[in-house]
Protein backbone atom coordinates (compact mmCIF):
# COMPACT_ATOMS: atom_id res chain seq x y z
CA UNK A 1 0.00 0.00 0.00
CA UNK A 2 2.70 2.45 1.04
CA UNK A 3 4.72 1.51 -2.00
CA UNK A 4 1.71 2.13 -4.20
CA UNK A 5 1.20 5.59 -2.75
CA UNK A 6 4.90 6.36 -3.12
CA UNK A 7 4.70 5.06 -6.64
CA UNK A 8 1.80 7.37 -7.51
CA UNK A 9 3.38 10.42 -5.88
CA UNK A 10 6.74 10.00 -7.57
CA UNK A 11 5.11 9.33 -10.95
CA UNK A 12 3.03 12.45 -10.40
CA UNK A 13 6.07 14.57 -9.61
CA UNK A 14 7.91 13.24 -12.64
CA UNK A 15 4.97 14.19 -14.86
CA UNK A 16 4.42 17.42 -12.96
CA UNK A 17 7.97 18.61 -13.44
CA UNK A 18 7.49 18.43 -17.16
CA UNK A 19 4.14 20.21 -16.97
CA UNK A 20 5.75 22.90 -14.83
CA UNK A 21 8.37 23.82 -17.45
CA UNK A 22 5.83 23.78 -20.26
CA UNK A 23 3.49 26.01 -18.27
CA UNK A 24 6.20 28.43 -17.13
CA UNK A 25 7.02 29.10 -20.77
CA UNK A 26 3.42 29.88 -21.60
CA UNK A 27 3.08 31.86 -18.43
CA UNK A 28 5.87 34.19 -19.58
CA UNK A 29 4.24 34.57 -22.96
CA UNK A 30 0.72 35.03 -21.73
CA UNK A 31 1.23 36.49 -18.28
CA UNK A 32 3.73 39.12 -19.34
CA UNK A 33 3.52 39.53 -23.11
CA UNK A 34 -0.27 38.97 -23.14
CA UNK A 35 -0.02 36.56 -26.07
CA UNK A 36 -2.07 33.42 -25.51
CA UNK A 37 0.36 31.49 -27.65
CA UNK A 38 -1.56 28.57 -29.14
CA UNK A 39 1.60 27.62 -31.02
CA UNK A 40 3.48 27.04 -27.74
CA UNK A 41 3.27 23.28 -28.26
CA UNK A 42 4.83 23.62 -31.70
CA UNK A 43 8.01 24.97 -30.13
CA UNK A 44 7.94 21.95 -27.81
CA UNK A 45 7.57 19.74 -30.87
CA UNK A 46 10.47 21.51 -32.62
CA UNK A 47 12.64 21.00 -29.55
CA UNK A 48 11.70 17.33 -29.40
CA UNK A 49 12.21 16.45 -33.07
CA UNK A 50 15.43 18.50 -33.25
CA UNK A 51 16.81 16.62 -30.25
CA UNK A 52 15.80 13.36 -31.89
CA UNK A 53 17.56 14.36 -35.13
CA UNK A 54 20.71 15.51 -33.34
CA UNK A 55 20.86 12.27 -31.35
CA UNK A 56 20.04 9.74 -34.07
CA UNK A 57 21.89 11.43 -36.94
CA UNK A 58 24.84 13.18 -35.31
CA UNK A 59 24.94 11.23 -32.08
CA UNK A 60 24.79 14.34 -29.92
CA UNK A 61 23.81 13.75 -26.29
CA UNK A 62 20.16 14.86 -25.82
CA UNK A 63 21.04 16.88 -22.75
CA UNK A 64 23.69 18.74 -24.71
CA UNK A 65 21.30 19.55 -27.53
CA UNK A 66 19.69 21.94 -25.09
CA UNK A 67 22.66 24.22 -25.66
CA UNK A 68 21.78 24.30 -29.36
CA UNK A 69 17.97 24.22 -29.31
CA UNK A 70 17.40 26.60 -26.41
CA UNK A 71 19.19 29.63 -27.87
CA UNK A 72 17.76 29.02 -31.35
CA UNK A 73 14.25 28.88 -29.94
CA UNK A 74 14.95 32.01 -27.93
CA UNK A 75 16.06 33.95 -30.99
CA UNK A 76 13.07 32.70 -32.97
CA UNK A 77 10.67 33.77 -30.23
CA UNK A 78 12.40 37.11 -29.80
CA UNK A 79 12.19 37.89 -33.50
CA UNK A 80 8.57 36.73 -33.64
CA UNK A 81 7.60 39.16 -30.94
CA UNK A 82 9.63 41.97 -32.46
CA UNK A 83 7.94 41.59 -35.84
CA UNK A 84 4.52 39.98 -35.59
CA UNK A 85 3.24 40.69 -32.10
CA UNK A 86 4.75 44.16 -31.78
CA UNK A 87 2.93 45.21 -34.90
CA UNK A 88 -0.29 43.76 -33.53
CA UNK A 89 0.28 45.68 -30.30
CA UNK A 90 0.52 48.92 -32.28
CA UNK A 91 -2.51 48.27 -34.48
CA UNK A 92 -4.86 46.87 -31.81
CA UNK A 93 -6.97 49.55 -30.19
CA UNK A 94 -7.34 47.95 -26.76
CA UNK A 95 -5.63 45.26 -24.70
CA UNK A 96 -8.66 43.01 -25.21
CA UNK A 97 -8.45 43.30 -28.99
CA UNK A 98 -4.72 42.60 -28.83
CA UNK A 99 -5.34 39.42 -26.84
CA UNK A 100 -7.87 38.21 -29.40
CA UNK A 101 -5.73 39.12 -32.41
CA UNK A 102 -2.49 37.76 -31.03
CA UNK A 103 -4.19 34.48 -30.17
CA UNK A 104 -5.49 34.15 -33.71
CA UNK A 105 -2.09 35.05 -35.16
CA UNK A 106 -0.47 32.40 -32.98
CA UNK A 107 -2.99 29.92 -34.29
CA UNK A 108 -1.92 30.78 -37.82
CA UNK A 109 1.65 30.30 -36.68
CA UNK A 110 0.75 26.85 -35.34
CA UNK A 111 -0.34 25.81 -38.81
CA UNK A 112 2.77 27.25 -40.44
CA UNK A 113 5.24 25.63 -38.02
CA UNK A 114 3.42 22.30 -37.97
CA UNK A 115 3.24 22.12 -41.75
CA UNK A 116 6.91 23.03 -42.17
CA UNK A 117 7.85 20.37 -39.61
CA UNK A 118 5.68 17.87 -41.44
CA UNK A 119 7.54 18.60 -44.66
CA UNK A 120 10.91 18.36 -42.94
CA UNK A 121 10.36 15.36 -40.65
CA UNK A 122 7.31 13.51 -41.99
CA UNK A 123 4.45 12.28 -39.86
CA UNK A 124 5.76 9.00 -38.43
CA UNK A 125 6.29 8.48 -34.72
CA UNK A 126 9.90 8.70 -33.62
CA UNK A 127 11.70 7.60 -30.52
CA UNK A 128 15.13 6.79 -29.20
CA UNK A 129 16.47 5.13 -26.12
CA UNK A 130 18.63 7.16 -23.79
CA UNK A 131 19.23 6.53 -20.08
CA UNK A 132 16.38 4.03 -20.21
CA UNK A 133 17.49 1.85 -17.31
CA UNK A 134 15.32 1.44 -14.21
CA UNK A 135 16.16 3.05 -10.88
CA UNK A 136 14.81 1.70 -7.61
CA UNK A 137 13.19 4.35 -5.42
CA UNK A 138 11.97 2.78 -2.17
CA UNK A 139 10.58 -0.26 -3.92
CA UNK A 140 9.13 1.55 -6.93
CA UNK A 141 10.95 1.41 -10.26
CA UNK A 142 11.39 4.48 -12.46
CA UNK A 143 13.30 5.11 -15.66
CA UNK A 144 16.50 7.08 -15.15
CA UNK A 145 15.55 9.35 -18.04
CA UNK A 146 12.40 10.40 -16.23
CA UNK A 147 14.32 11.18 -13.07
CA UNK A 148 16.74 13.27 -15.10
CA UNK A 149 13.71 15.04 -16.54
CA UNK A 150 12.46 15.91 -13.07
CA UNK A 151 15.94 17.05 -12.02
CA UNK A 152 16.18 19.32 -15.03
CA UNK A 153 12.70 20.64 -14.47
CA UNK A 154 13.53 21.58 -10.90
CA UNK A 155 16.83 23.10 -11.97
CA UNK A 156 15.21 25.21 -14.68
CA UNK A 157 12.35 26.19 -12.41
CA UNK A 158 14.55 27.28 -9.52
CA UNK A 159 17.05 29.14 -11.67
CA UNK A 160 14.16 30.95 -13.30
CA UNK A 161 12.79 31.92 -9.95
CA UNK A 162 16.17 33.29 -8.89
CA UNK A 163 16.46 35.13 -12.20
CA UNK A 164 13.05 36.77 -11.73
CA UNK A 165 13.52 37.76 -8.10
CA UNK A 166 17.21 38.62 -7.93
CA UNK A 167 18.21 40.27 -11.19
CA UNK A 168 17.36 43.67 -12.64
CA UNK A 169 15.95 42.16 -15.82
CA UNK A 170 13.83 39.83 -13.71
CA UNK A 171 12.45 42.80 -11.84
CA UNK A 172 11.68 44.55 -15.12
CA UNK A 173 9.81 41.44 -16.28
CA UNK A 174 7.76 41.32 -13.10
CA UNK A 175 7.00 45.02 -13.37
CA UNK A 176 5.90 44.57 -16.98
CA UNK A 177 3.65 41.69 -15.93
CA UNK A 178 1.88 43.90 -13.41
CA UNK A 179 1.40 46.99 -15.51
CA UNK A 180 3.19 47.37 -18.84
CA UNK A 181 2.49 51.07 -19.37
CA UNK A 182 3.56 52.16 -15.90
CA UNK A 183 6.65 49.98 -16.14
CA UNK A 184 7.39 51.74 -19.43
CA UNK A 185 7.02 55.13 -17.75
CA UNK A 186 9.48 54.11 -15.07
CA UNK A 187 12.14 53.48 -17.65
CA UNK A 188 11.69 49.79 -18.44
CA UNK A 189 12.34 49.17 -22.12
CA UNK A 190 8.98 47.53 -22.48
CA UNK A 191 9.29 46.28 -26.06
CA UNK A 192 12.57 44.63 -25.23
CA UNK A 193 11.21 43.04 -22.06
CA UNK A 194 8.13 41.66 -23.79
CA UNK A 195 10.19 40.23 -26.64
CA UNK A 196 12.59 38.80 -24.06
CA UNK A 197 9.71 37.06 -22.29
CA UNK A 198 8.41 35.67 -25.52
CA UNK A 199 11.85 34.39 -26.44
CA UNK A 200 12.39 32.86 -23.00
CA UNK A 201 8.98 31.18 -23.28
CA UNK A 202 10.00 29.65 -26.60
CA UNK A 203 13.33 28.52 -25.12
CA UNK A 204 11.54 26.88 -22.20
CA UNK A 205 9.23 25.14 -24.65
CA UNK A 206 12.18 23.82 -26.64
CA UNK A 207 13.89 22.52 -23.51
CA UNK A 208 10.65 20.87 -22.44
CA UNK A 209 10.59 19.26 -25.88
CA UNK A 210 14.12 17.99 -25.33
CA UNK A 211 13.08 16.42 -22.01
CA UNK A 212 9.90 14.93 -23.48
CA UNK A 213 11.84 13.28 -26.31
CA UNK A 214 13.91 11.38 -23.74
CA UNK A 215 10.92 9.61 -22.18
CA UNK A 216 8.11 9.66 -24.75
CA UNK A 217 7.77 9.02 -28.47
CA UNK A 218 7.74 12.23 -30.52
CA UNK A 219 5.98 13.23 -33.73
CA UNK A 220 5.22 16.41 -35.62
CA UNK A 221 1.59 16.72 -34.50
CA UNK A 222 2.28 16.28 -30.79
CA UNK A 223 2.28 20.01 -30.04
CA UNK A 224 -1.37 20.65 -29.41
CA UNK A 225 -1.78 18.23 -26.51
CA UNK A 226 1.02 20.01 -24.66
CA UNK A 227 -0.37 23.45 -25.49
CA UNK A 228 -3.65 22.42 -23.94
CA UNK A 229 -1.94 21.14 -20.80
CA UNK A 230 0.09 24.35 -20.59
CA UNK A 231 -3.10 26.41 -20.78
CA UNK A 232 -4.73 24.34 -18.04
CA UNK A 233 -1.70 24.63 -15.75
CA UNK A 234 -1.36 28.37 -16.36
CA UNK A 235 -5.01 28.89 -15.42
CA UNK A 236 -4.62 26.57 -12.44
CA UNK A 237 -1.59 28.45 -11.14
CA UNK A 238 -3.05 31.84 -11.92
CA UNK A 239 -2.57 33.81 -15.14
CA UNK A 240 0.59 35.87 -14.90
CA UNK A 241 2.07 34.07 -11.90
CA UNK A 242 5.22 32.17 -12.80
CA UNK A 243 5.66 30.46 -9.39
CA UNK A 244 1.96 29.59 -9.70
CA UNK A 245 2.64 27.81 -12.98
CA UNK A 246 5.42 25.82 -11.38
CA UNK A 247 3.29 24.71 -8.44
CA UNK A 248 0.28 24.21 -10.71
CA UNK A 249 2.31 21.93 -12.94
CA UNK A 250 3.33 19.72 -10.04
CA UNK A 251 -0.26 19.62 -8.74
CA UNK A 252 -1.67 18.70 -12.14
CA UNK A 253 0.96 16.01 -12.52
CA UNK A 254 -0.05 14.52 -9.17
CA UNK A 255 -3.73 14.64 -10.09
CA UNK A 256 -2.96 13.00 -13.42
CA UNK A 257 -0.99 10.27 -11.71
CA UNK A 258 -3.73 9.57 -9.15
CA UNK A 259 -6.48 9.42 -11.77
CA UNK A 260 -4.33 7.28 -14.06
CA UNK A 261 -3.98 4.77 -11.24
CA UNK A 262 -7.74 4.25 -11.21
CA UNK A 263 -8.56 4.67 -14.90
CA UNK A 264 -5.94 5.87 -17.44
CA UNK A 265 -8.69 6.96 -19.85
CA UNK A 266 -9.97 9.53 -17.41
CA UNK A 267 -6.75 11.51 -16.83
CA UNK A 268 -7.43 14.10 -19.52
CA UNK A 269 -11.10 14.25 -18.59
CA UNK A 270 -10.10 14.96 -15.00
CA UNK A 271 -7.85 17.82 -16.17
CA UNK A 272 -10.72 19.43 -18.01
CA UNK A 273 -13.18 18.96 -15.20
CA UNK A 274 -10.77 20.66 -12.79
CA UNK A 275 -10.11 23.35 -15.37
CA UNK A 276 -13.82 23.97 -15.90
CA UNK A 277 -14.65 24.23 -12.23
CA UNK A 278 -11.63 26.38 -11.60
CA UNK A 279 -12.66 28.83 -14.30
CA UNK A 280 -16.15 29.00 -12.87
CA UNK A 281 -15.26 29.26 -9.20
CA UNK A 282 -11.86 30.92 -9.06
CA UNK A 283 -10.72 32.12 -12.51
CA UNK A 284 -7.70 33.86 -10.97
CA UNK A 285 -6.19 30.48 -10.10
CA UNK A 286 -4.17 29.40 -7.09
CA UNK A 287 -1.65 32.24 -7.01
CA UNK A 288 -3.26 34.83 -9.30
CA UNK A 289 -3.91 38.38 -8.31
Amino acid sequence: MLVTILDIVIAGLLLGGLYAIIAMGLSLQYGVARVLNISHGEFIMLGAVSTWTLYTVLGINPLLSLVVCGPIAFVLGFILHRTLYKRLMVTSATAGIFEGNSMLASFGLLFIVQNLALIAWGSDIKGYSYLAFPVDLGGALFGANRLVTLGFALLIGISFYIFLTQTRTGKAIRAAAQDPSTAGLLGVNINFVLALCFGLGAALAASAGMLISMSYPVHTVMGMEYTVIAIIVVVLGGLGSIPGSFVGGLILGLIGSIVTYFDPGLALVAYYVIFTFLLLIKPTGLMGK
Partner: protein
Amino acid sequence: MNKLPSISNNFQVRGIVLLIGLIILFTLPFYTPIYTSIFLSAIFMYIVLTSSWAMFSGPTGQISLATAAFFGVGIYIAATLGNKMPLPVLVLIGGLGSAGLALLVGSLTLRLKGVYFTIFTFGLLELMKFLLLWFEITFTGTRGRFVVVVDYKTVYFIMLVILVLTLLTSYLIRRSKYGLALQGIGEQEEAAEHIGINVTLLKVATFGISAFFMGATGAVMATRWTYVDPYIAFNMNYSFTPVLMAIFGGLGQFFGPILGAIIFAYLEEILITQFPYYYMLLFGIVMVVSVLYLPNGLAGLVQKWRSREAGGEHAHS
Protein backbone atom coordinates in the same frame (compact mmCIF):
# COMPACT_ATOMS: atom_id res chain seq x y z
CA MET B 1 -26.30 61.87 -52.02
CA ASN B 2 -28.28 62.36 -55.21
CA LYS B 3 -28.74 58.61 -55.37
CA LEU B 4 -31.35 58.64 -52.64
CA PRO B 5 -34.51 58.11 -54.76
CA SER B 6 -33.10 54.94 -56.26
CA ILE B 7 -32.86 53.17 -52.92
CA SER B 8 -36.27 51.50 -52.98
CA ASN B 9 -35.67 50.60 -56.61
CA ASN B 10 -32.32 49.15 -55.63
CA PHE B 11 -34.06 47.16 -52.93
CA GLN B 12 -36.47 45.62 -55.42
CA VAL B 13 -33.64 44.68 -57.73
CA ARG B 14 -31.86 43.03 -54.86
CA GLY B 15 -34.99 41.11 -53.96
CA ILE B 16 -35.37 39.82 -57.49
CA VAL B 17 -31.70 38.84 -57.69
CA LEU B 18 -32.00 37.03 -54.38
CA LEU B 19 -35.13 35.18 -55.56
CA ILE B 20 -33.49 34.09 -58.80
CA GLY B 21 -30.43 33.02 -56.90
CA LEU B 22 -32.53 30.90 -54.55
CA ILE B 23 -34.42 29.29 -57.42
CA ILE B 24 -31.14 28.40 -59.11
CA LEU B 25 -29.73 26.97 -55.88
CA PHE B 26 -32.83 24.91 -55.15
CA THR B 27 -32.91 23.35 -58.63
CA LEU B 28 -29.16 22.97 -59.08
CA PRO B 29 -28.78 19.23 -58.23
CA PHE B 30 -31.18 18.32 -61.06
CA TYR B 31 -28.96 19.53 -63.90
CA THR B 32 -25.41 19.65 -62.55
CA PRO B 33 -22.93 16.85 -61.87
CA ILE B 34 -22.99 15.15 -58.46
CA TYR B 35 -19.69 16.78 -57.59
CA THR B 36 -21.23 20.28 -57.74
CA SER B 37 -23.86 19.44 -55.13
CA ILE B 38 -21.36 17.81 -52.81
CA PHE B 39 -18.96 20.72 -53.14
CA LEU B 40 -21.73 23.26 -52.58
CA SER B 41 -22.94 21.36 -49.50
CA ALA B 42 -19.47 21.77 -48.02
CA ILE B 43 -19.48 25.49 -48.83
CA PHE B 44 -22.94 25.82 -47.26
CA MET B 45 -21.62 24.10 -44.15
CA TYR B 46 -18.80 26.59 -43.82
CA ILE B 47 -21.11 29.56 -44.43
CA VAL B 48 -23.51 28.32 -41.73
CA LEU B 49 -20.72 27.70 -39.21
CA THR B 50 -19.07 31.04 -39.94
CA SER B 51 -22.25 33.12 -39.98
CA SER B 52 -23.63 31.53 -36.85
CA TRP B 53 -20.29 32.02 -35.12
CA ALA B 54 -20.30 35.67 -36.20
CA MET B 55 -23.89 36.01 -34.97
CA PHE B 56 -22.64 35.83 -31.39
CA SER B 57 -18.94 36.62 -31.47
CA GLY B 58 -19.15 39.40 -34.06
CA PRO B 59 -21.10 42.00 -32.11
CA THR B 60 -20.09 40.93 -28.59
CA GLY B 61 -16.38 40.53 -29.43
CA GLN B 62 -16.17 37.42 -27.23
CA ILE B 63 -14.30 34.84 -29.26
CA SER B 64 -15.95 31.46 -28.84
CA LEU B 65 -13.99 28.35 -29.76
CA ALA B 66 -16.90 26.04 -29.01
CA THR B 67 -18.09 25.82 -32.62
CA ALA B 68 -16.59 22.37 -33.06
CA ALA B 69 -18.19 21.21 -29.81
CA PHE B 70 -21.68 22.15 -31.00
CA PHE B 71 -20.96 20.80 -34.46
CA GLY B 72 -19.74 17.57 -32.89
CA VAL B 73 -22.86 17.19 -30.75
CA GLY B 74 -24.87 17.29 -33.97
CA ILE B 75 -22.60 14.70 -35.55
CA TYR B 76 -22.89 12.34 -32.61
CA ILE B 77 -26.65 12.68 -32.41
CA ALA B 78 -26.85 11.70 -36.08
CA ALA B 79 -24.44 8.83 -35.48
CA THR B 80 -26.30 7.36 -32.52
CA LEU B 81 -29.89 7.91 -33.66
CA GLY B 82 -29.26 7.70 -37.41
CA ASN B 83 -30.97 4.39 -38.06
CA LYS B 84 -34.00 5.18 -35.93
CA MET B 85 -35.21 8.49 -37.34
CA PRO B 86 -35.50 10.37 -40.61
CA LEU B 87 -32.86 13.01 -41.31
CA PRO B 88 -34.99 16.16 -40.82
CA VAL B 89 -35.93 14.98 -37.31
CA LEU B 90 -32.28 14.23 -36.59
CA VAL B 91 -31.32 17.70 -37.75
CA LEU B 92 -33.86 19.23 -35.42
CA ILE B 93 -32.69 17.11 -32.48
CA GLY B 94 -29.06 17.87 -33.32
CA GLY B 95 -29.81 21.58 -33.35
CA LEU B 96 -31.83 21.48 -30.15
CA GLY B 97 -29.21 19.34 -28.40
CA SER B 98 -26.49 21.82 -29.27
CA ALA B 99 -28.64 24.78 -28.34
CA GLY B 100 -29.42 23.15 -25.00
CA LEU B 101 -25.74 22.61 -24.31
CA ALA B 102 -25.01 26.20 -25.35
CA LEU B 103 -27.69 27.57 -23.03
CA LEU B 104 -26.32 25.55 -20.13
CA VAL B 105 -22.70 26.42 -20.81
CA GLY B 106 -23.53 30.00 -21.70
CA SER B 107 -25.46 30.70 -18.53
CA LEU B 108 -22.53 29.37 -16.52
CA THR B 109 -19.67 30.97 -18.36
CA LEU B 110 -20.72 34.07 -20.23
CA ARG B 111 -19.88 36.09 -17.15
CA LEU B 112 -16.24 35.21 -17.82
CA LYS B 113 -14.46 38.10 -19.44
CA GLY B 114 -12.37 38.17 -22.57
CA VAL B 115 -9.79 35.49 -22.92
CA TYR B 116 -11.16 33.41 -20.02
CA PHE B 117 -14.28 32.78 -22.03
CA THR B 118 -12.20 31.79 -25.05
CA ILE B 119 -10.09 29.41 -22.98
CA PHE B 120 -13.19 27.92 -21.45
CA THR B 121 -14.92 27.26 -24.76
CA PHE B 122 -11.76 25.64 -26.01
CA GLY B 123 -11.62 23.48 -22.92
CA LEU B 124 -15.24 22.51 -23.43
CA LEU B 125 -14.43 21.08 -26.84
CA GLU B 126 -11.56 19.00 -25.48
CA LEU B 127 -13.58 17.90 -22.45
CA MET B 128 -16.38 16.60 -24.63
CA LYS B 129 -13.95 14.84 -26.92
CA PHE B 130 -12.17 12.94 -24.15
CA LEU B 131 -15.29 12.28 -22.13
CA LEU B 132 -16.95 10.76 -25.15
CA LEU B 133 -13.87 8.75 -26.01
CA TRP B 134 -13.72 7.37 -22.50
CA PHE B 135 -17.45 6.62 -22.52
CA GLU B 136 -17.28 4.81 -25.85
CA ILE B 137 -14.28 2.71 -24.89
CA THR B 138 -15.55 1.88 -21.40
CA PHE B 139 -19.24 1.31 -22.03
CA THR B 140 -19.83 0.57 -25.68
CA GLY B 141 -16.50 -1.13 -26.23
CA THR B 142 -15.83 0.65 -29.53
CA ARG B 143 -14.06 3.80 -30.48
CA GLY B 144 -16.17 5.01 -33.35
CA ARG B 145 -19.54 4.58 -34.96
CA PHE B 146 -20.86 4.06 -38.43
CA VAL B 147 -23.20 6.68 -39.79
CA VAL B 148 -26.17 5.90 -42.00
CA VAL B 149 -25.33 7.31 -45.41
CA VAL B 150 -27.90 9.57 -47.00
CA ASP B 151 -28.42 10.48 -50.66
CA TYR B 152 -26.32 13.51 -51.66
CA LYS B 153 -29.36 15.43 -52.90
CA THR B 154 -31.09 15.16 -49.53
CA VAL B 155 -27.94 16.44 -47.83
CA TYR B 156 -27.78 19.31 -50.29
CA PHE B 157 -31.39 20.39 -49.82
CA ILE B 158 -31.32 20.20 -46.04
CA MET B 159 -28.04 22.12 -45.96
CA LEU B 160 -29.56 24.75 -48.23
CA VAL B 161 -32.59 25.12 -45.97
CA ILE B 162 -30.36 25.45 -42.90
CA LEU B 163 -28.25 28.00 -44.78
CA VAL B 164 -31.26 30.14 -45.69
CA LEU B 165 -32.59 29.98 -42.14
CA THR B 166 -29.19 30.87 -40.66
CA LEU B 167 -28.68 33.85 -42.92
CA LEU B 168 -32.25 35.03 -42.37
CA THR B 169 -31.86 34.78 -38.60
CA SER B 170 -28.50 36.50 -38.70
CA TYR B 171 -29.91 39.28 -40.89
CA LEU B 172 -32.97 39.77 -38.71
CA ILE B 173 -30.93 39.86 -35.51
CA ARG B 174 -28.62 42.44 -37.01
CA ARG B 175 -31.53 44.61 -38.04
CA SER B 176 -33.43 44.33 -34.77
CA LYS B 177 -33.03 46.18 -31.52
CA TYR B 178 -31.47 43.01 -30.12
CA GLY B 179 -28.68 43.32 -32.64
CA LEU B 180 -28.06 46.88 -31.55
CA ALA B 181 -28.13 45.81 -27.93
CA LEU B 182 -25.55 43.09 -28.64
CA GLN B 183 -23.40 45.66 -30.38
CA GLY B 184 -23.71 47.82 -27.29
CA ILE B 185 -22.61 44.94 -25.08
CA GLY B 186 -19.56 44.49 -27.27
CA GLU B 187 -18.66 48.16 -27.11
CA GLN B 188 -19.12 48.67 -23.40
CA GLU B 189 -20.81 45.99 -21.34
CA GLU B 190 -21.32 48.03 -18.15
CA ALA B 191 -22.87 50.90 -20.08
CA ALA B 192 -25.21 48.51 -21.86
CA GLU B 193 -26.27 47.07 -18.52
CA HIS B 194 -26.93 50.56 -17.15
CA ILE B 195 -29.30 51.53 -19.93
CA GLY B 196 -31.43 48.52 -19.10
CA ILE B 197 -30.24 45.79 -21.43
CA ASN B 198 -30.49 42.34 -19.87
CA VAL B 199 -26.93 41.48 -20.82
CA THR B 200 -26.77 37.90 -19.58
CA LEU B 201 -30.11 36.87 -21.07
CA LEU B 202 -29.32 38.40 -24.43
CA LYS B 203 -25.86 36.88 -24.63
CA VAL B 204 -27.02 33.42 -23.56
CA ALA B 205 -29.96 33.48 -25.96
CA THR B 206 -27.80 34.51 -28.92
CA PHE B 207 -25.20 31.91 -28.00
CA GLY B 208 -27.95 29.28 -27.93
CA ILE B 209 -29.42 30.33 -31.28
CA SER B 210 -26.02 30.26 -32.96
CA ALA B 211 -25.33 26.80 -31.50
CA PHE B 212 -28.64 25.53 -32.89
CA PHE B 213 -27.45 26.06 -36.46
CA MET B 214 -24.06 24.54 -35.73
CA GLY B 215 -25.64 21.39 -34.27
CA ALA B 216 -28.12 21.09 -37.11
CA THR B 217 -25.28 21.34 -39.63
CA GLY B 218 -23.35 18.69 -37.75
CA ALA B 219 -26.28 16.30 -37.93
CA VAL B 220 -26.55 16.68 -41.71
CA MET B 221 -22.85 16.62 -42.49
CA ALA B 222 -22.31 13.54 -40.31
CA THR B 223 -23.98 11.53 -43.07
CA ARG B 224 -21.16 12.56 -45.40
CA TRP B 225 -18.69 10.52 -43.39
CA THR B 226 -19.42 6.84 -43.12
CA TYR B 227 -17.50 6.51 -39.88
CA VAL B 228 -17.01 8.95 -36.99
CA ASP B 229 -15.06 8.78 -33.77
CA PRO B 230 -14.61 11.50 -31.13
CA TYR B 231 -11.44 12.78 -32.81
CA ILE B 232 -13.21 13.24 -36.14
CA ALA B 233 -16.40 14.69 -34.67
CA PHE B 234 -14.76 17.07 -32.22
CA ASN B 235 -12.02 18.22 -34.57
CA MET B 236 -10.54 21.52 -33.41
CA ASN B 237 -10.30 22.82 -36.95
CA TYR B 238 -14.06 23.32 -36.97
CA SER B 239 -13.59 25.78 -34.14
CA PHE B 240 -10.80 27.76 -35.71
CA THR B 241 -11.76 27.70 -39.38
CA PRO B 242 -14.99 29.69 -38.88
CA VAL B 243 -13.06 32.30 -36.87
CA LEU B 244 -10.52 32.62 -39.65
CA MET B 245 -13.20 32.78 -42.34
CA ALA B 246 -15.18 35.41 -40.49
CA ILE B 247 -12.14 37.58 -39.77
CA PHE B 248 -10.82 37.22 -43.29
CA GLY B 249 -14.21 38.14 -44.72
CA GLY B 250 -14.88 40.93 -42.25
CA LEU B 251 -16.90 40.79 -39.06
CA GLY B 252 -18.39 44.25 -39.34
CA GLN B 253 -20.70 43.47 -42.22
CA PHE B 254 -23.41 40.91 -42.80
CA PHE B 255 -21.75 39.69 -46.00
CA GLY B 256 -18.24 39.52 -44.55
CA PRO B 257 -18.42 36.06 -42.96
CA ILE B 258 -20.27 34.68 -46.00
CA LEU B 259 -17.62 36.03 -48.34
CA GLY B 260 -14.82 34.65 -46.17
CA ALA B 261 -16.46 31.23 -45.94
CA ILE B 262 -16.98 30.94 -49.69
CA ILE B 263 -13.44 31.99 -50.57
CA PHE B 264 -11.88 29.71 -47.97
CA ALA B 265 -14.03 26.69 -48.70
CA TYR B 266 -13.08 27.08 -52.36
CA LEU B 267 -9.42 27.53 -51.51
CA GLU B 268 -9.50 24.48 -49.26
CA GLU B 269 -10.95 22.39 -52.05
CA ILE B 270 -8.27 23.46 -54.52
CA LEU B 271 -5.37 23.31 -52.09
CA ILE B 272 -6.28 19.94 -50.62
CA THR B 273 -6.46 18.32 -54.03
CA GLN B 274 -3.52 20.15 -55.62
CA PHE B 275 -1.09 20.84 -52.77
CA PRO B 276 -2.09 18.52 -49.91
CA TYR B 277 1.28 19.03 -48.21
CA TYR B 278 1.16 22.79 -48.24
CA TYR B 279 -2.49 23.32 -47.44
CA MET B 280 -2.00 24.03 -43.75
CA LEU B 281 0.98 26.24 -44.48
CA LEU B 282 -1.00 28.51 -46.80
CA PHE B 283 -3.92 28.43 -44.38
CA GLY B 284 -1.63 29.64 -41.61
CA ILE B 285 -0.01 32.34 -43.71
CA VAL B 286 -3.38 33.73 -44.79
CA MET B 287 -4.50 33.71 -41.16
CA VAL B 288 -1.46 35.65 -39.93
CA VAL B 289 -1.57 38.08 -42.85
CA SER B 290 -5.28 38.78 -42.46
CA VAL B 291 -4.93 39.36 -38.71
CA LEU B 292 -2.02 41.71 -39.41
CA TYR B 293 -3.17 43.62 -42.45
CA LEU B 294 -6.91 43.14 -42.80
CA PRO B 295 -8.36 44.22 -39.46
CA ASN B 296 -11.78 44.71 -41.03
CA GLY B 297 -11.50 41.85 -43.46
CA LEU B 298 -12.29 41.80 -47.14
CA ALA B 299 -15.66 43.40 -46.61
CA GLY B 300 -13.97 46.28 -44.82
CA LEU B 301 -11.57 46.63 -47.72
CA VAL B 302 -14.42 46.65 -50.21
CA GLN B 303 -16.28 49.26 -48.20
CA LYS B 304 -13.19 51.44 -47.95
CA TRP B 305 -12.63 51.16 -51.65
CA ARG B 306 -16.24 51.95 -52.44
CA SER B 307 -16.39 55.00 -50.23
CA ARG B 308 -13.18 56.21 -51.83
CA GLU B 309 -14.75 55.62 -55.27
CA ALA B 310 -17.73 57.68 -54.22
CA GLY B 311 -15.32 60.49 -53.38
CA GLY B 312 -16.16 60.17 -49.73
CA GLU B 313 -13.73 61.86 -47.44
CA HIS B 314 -15.47 59.87 -44.70
CA ALA B 315 -13.44 56.89 -45.75
CA HIS B 316 -13.20 55.44 -42.32
CA SER B 317 -11.99 51.96 -41.72
